[in-house]
């Protein structure tokens, strides 16, 4: 068990390193290969109107003349120890988890990310609770009543659900239930109240995004759970459980569902990790100022350090979520522990 945990931990750290390298390469190597000069990169900090001389100086000070590998080393160093940015008019310090320094606002990226996190986190957690309960529940009932009217209706809705893009359902929900005159019962997009301030307003403002996001995922999870349940309920150990006289309820929950849940847990880890790293589409549709919207806005402004920060943070969330899932696996499934 201990070796298993250690091996998973090492794998997670390695993965993080690789992801950070690839991310850095995309943002600082690809533009160079595409023909951007160190001065060009630096001019993003000092402004396009700055003279050639200033840009050259800034490029030197900000380290854009160094080989990309050295720049990467400095970036990682900044994350661990903090860094100082000298873009000309003055030196700015960027304390410990320094994920770089915005081109546009000349502010460190990390505090921004901390600021946005609660929004995305609220959105993801609320939606996840709904979609896991609804999706897995419907999947189980569908599998047990296979071929019934409920099963067919649920699976039709689920198929429609996985075929609808969220920016379409979100838009329609806003038009029909929020902006539209007759049923304007839900909050318009772009509103967020911290839960510490007013829990009721927090939930009221988020209910529409929650339901829209959960609908998409619940549809997928219902399909997966149904398929998994149909598989496990045909296993020999289910027949054994029935043969020894267990109540059907116990057979379904303790034996059937437990077997069907393992692949669901894996996918949940990935989905949830990705989501708390920024529900890009949902936040864009509902104008919620979370991490995903932050990334999109940064990309629109070509503010690479911000984009890089969000990407890296998302990767961290995914990797941590995967790690938790791996450890949960060991708890749920004894075979994992031993292998």
């Amino acid at each position: 068990m201990v070796t298993y945990i250690i091996r998973r931990l090492i794998a997670a750290i390695l993965m993080l390193l690789i992801v950070s390298m690839v991310t850095f390469a995309i943002f600082f190597l690809v533009p160079r290969l595409a023909g951007a000069t160190p001065e060009g990169m630096a001019s993003r900090y000092v402004g396009r109107t700055a003279s050639e001389e200033t840009a050259k100086l800034a490029a030197e000070r900000l380290g854009f003349n160094d080989p990309v590998i050295v720049q990467y080393g400095n970036y990682v160093k900044g994350i661990v120890f903090g860094a100082e940015y000298d873009y000309g008019p003055g030196v700015e310090t960027c304390p410990a988890p320094c994920l770089g320094y915005s081109f546009i606002t000349r502010q460190p990226v990390w505090p921004d990310l901390l600021d946005r996190m609660p929004v995305t986190f609220s959105l993801a957690v609320g939606a996840a609770v709904i979609w896991v309960l609804v999706g897995v529940g419907i999947g189980v009932v569908s599998a047990l009543k296979r071929g019934s009217l409920f099963d067919r209706a649920a699976m039709t809705v689920a198929l429609a659900g996985v075929s609808l893009p969220i920016f379409f359902t979100g838009l329609i929900s806003l038009v029909a239930l929020s902006y539209g005159n007759p049923f304007s019962i839900f909050a318009q997009g772009g509103h967020y109240t911290p839960i510490t301030e007013n829990p009721i307003m927090w939930a009221y403002n988020l209910i529409l995004p929650w339901v829209t996001l959960a609908f998409l995922f619940a549809a997928g999870y219902a399909r997966l759970t149904r398929a998994g349940m149909l598989d496990t309920m045909n296993e020999d150990y289910i027949r054994t459980a029935r043969a020894k006289g267990l109540a059907e309820r116990v057979v379904v929950t303790k034996h059937g569902l437990r077997g069907a849940l393992t692949p669901i847990i894996t996918i949940f880890g990935l989905d949830f990790g990705l989501l708390i790293g920024g529900a890009v589409l949902t936040e864009s549709t509902y104008s919620l100022q979370g991490l995903g919207k932050y990334a999109v806005d940064a990309i629109t402004n070509n503010d690479l350090p911000k984009v890089m920060g969000v990407t890296l943070l998302t990767a961290v969330f995914v990797i941590v979520a995967n790690l938790i899932v791996d450890l949960l696996y060991a708890v749920v499934d004894p075979r994992v522990r031993l292998s």
């Binding site: 992801v19 943002f27 893009p165 902006y179 984009v307 990407t311 990767a315 995914v318």
Partner: protein, 331 residues
């Protein structure tokens, strides 16, 4: 097909009239696995409906200029006279729907929504097909290599798959699509954007195919007919191309069909976020992004949204049916 239980192939002349159906005078026809699957698929009405819609959409995409010529207006042409100059909202009921403008016109510049939806099918299907092709090629090659070679090759490829699956693909894709300049590698304009999107979408999706192909290869490798080929002195390329690949066609086909709708949604999402094919070229995702600003004119969102929905649904229906037909156990 070289499946172990394949019953296809020509009959011996002596077969005819020897079986139980001797009196009927009809030769017993051997059926290949693909014929059996096709017969099963034909009975599945839902899947056939999906296939019909898919074929229809492909025809729409191919003949877009002709269709727009007959029923619409040029997709880039502005019709400002169709739009109220003060509110920027289309004149007439339901966003200006009429026999002239079948789906109405866009707010502000009054472009024909029908033509733009029809042309949008081109970008959407082109990118989805090519990206799927790329994923399938990379995924199949690496999957077969990993499964067949085993050992450290397998370890490296499997770890690479894990890394790809842990990437925040959407954020990565928007970032990558955002940093590439408007001119690169001698390409520019729509050609560059389409190639870029195909590359990004295709390149990030191969692990899903590779994982399945690797698993299948692992189990096929141990089967008797592969042993038989090996003992007859067959070389590796022969075993891979003549023994393994034909048996991998079914999963490849199924997962390729099911990857297309995912890729359509992916492309639409990228266009929605403004990093897809650049305007004014019409894309479904891009139209939805424009529609966000005009929520008082819901028809603007409904037509491109329904186009995405219908396309994705059709591919999903067909893909599910195909899976059931080719692999009845997977029901």
């Amino acid at each position: 097909m070289t499946a172990p239980l394949d019953v296809s192939g020509p009959h011996l002349p002596g077969d005819e009239g020897a079986g139980p159906s001797a009196g009927a005078g009809v030769a017993i026809q051997g059926r290949s696995l693909s014929q059996i699957a096709w017969a099963r698929l034909k009975r599945d009405r839902v899947a056939m409906a999906g296939l019909a819609i898919v074929v229809f959409l492909i025809l729409v995409a191919v003949f877009a200029p002709l269709i727009v010529n007959l029923f619409g207006h040029p997709p880039l042409q502005h019709y400002r006279n169709m739009v109220d100059p003060t509110t920027q909202v289309p004149k007439g009921a339901f966003g200006g729907i009429s026999t002239d403008f079948l789906f109405g016109v866009e707010p502000q510049n009054g472009r024909d929504i029908f033509s733009r939806v029809v042309y949008g099918a081109r970008i959407s299907l082109l990118i989805a097909f090519l990206a799927t092709l790329l994923s399938v090629v990379i995924g199949t090659v690496l999957g077969v290599v990993a499964g067949f070679a085993g050992g450290w090759v397998d370890t490296i490829i499997s770890r690479a798959m894990d890394v790809f699956l842990a990437f925040p693909i959407l954020v990565f894709a928007i970032a990558l699509a955002g940093v590439v300049p408007d001119e690169a590698l001698g390409l520019s304009g729509d050609t560059l954007r389409v190639s870029l999107l195909v590359f990004i979408i295709g390149f990030f999706n191969w692990p899903y195919i590779a994982r399945i192909i690797r698993g299948q290869t692992l189990s096929l490798r141990e089967r008797e007919f592969v042993d038989a080929a090996r003992s007859l002195g067959a070389r590796r390329p022969y075993i891979i191309f003549r023994e393994l690949l034909p048996n991998l066609m079914a999963p490849i086909l199924i997962y390729a069909t099911l990857l297309i709708p995912t890729n359509i949604l992916f492309e639409a999402a990228l266009s929605f976020l403004g990093v897809g094919v650049r305007p004014p070229t019409p894309t479904w995702g891009g139209m939805l992004a424009d529609a966000v600003r005009y929520y008082t004119v819901p028809h603007f969102a409904i037509f491109p949204g329904l186009a995405i929905f219908l396309t994705v649904l059709a591919f999903n229906l067909f893909g599910d049916g195909l899976r059931d037909a080719l692999d009845p156990r997977a029901r």
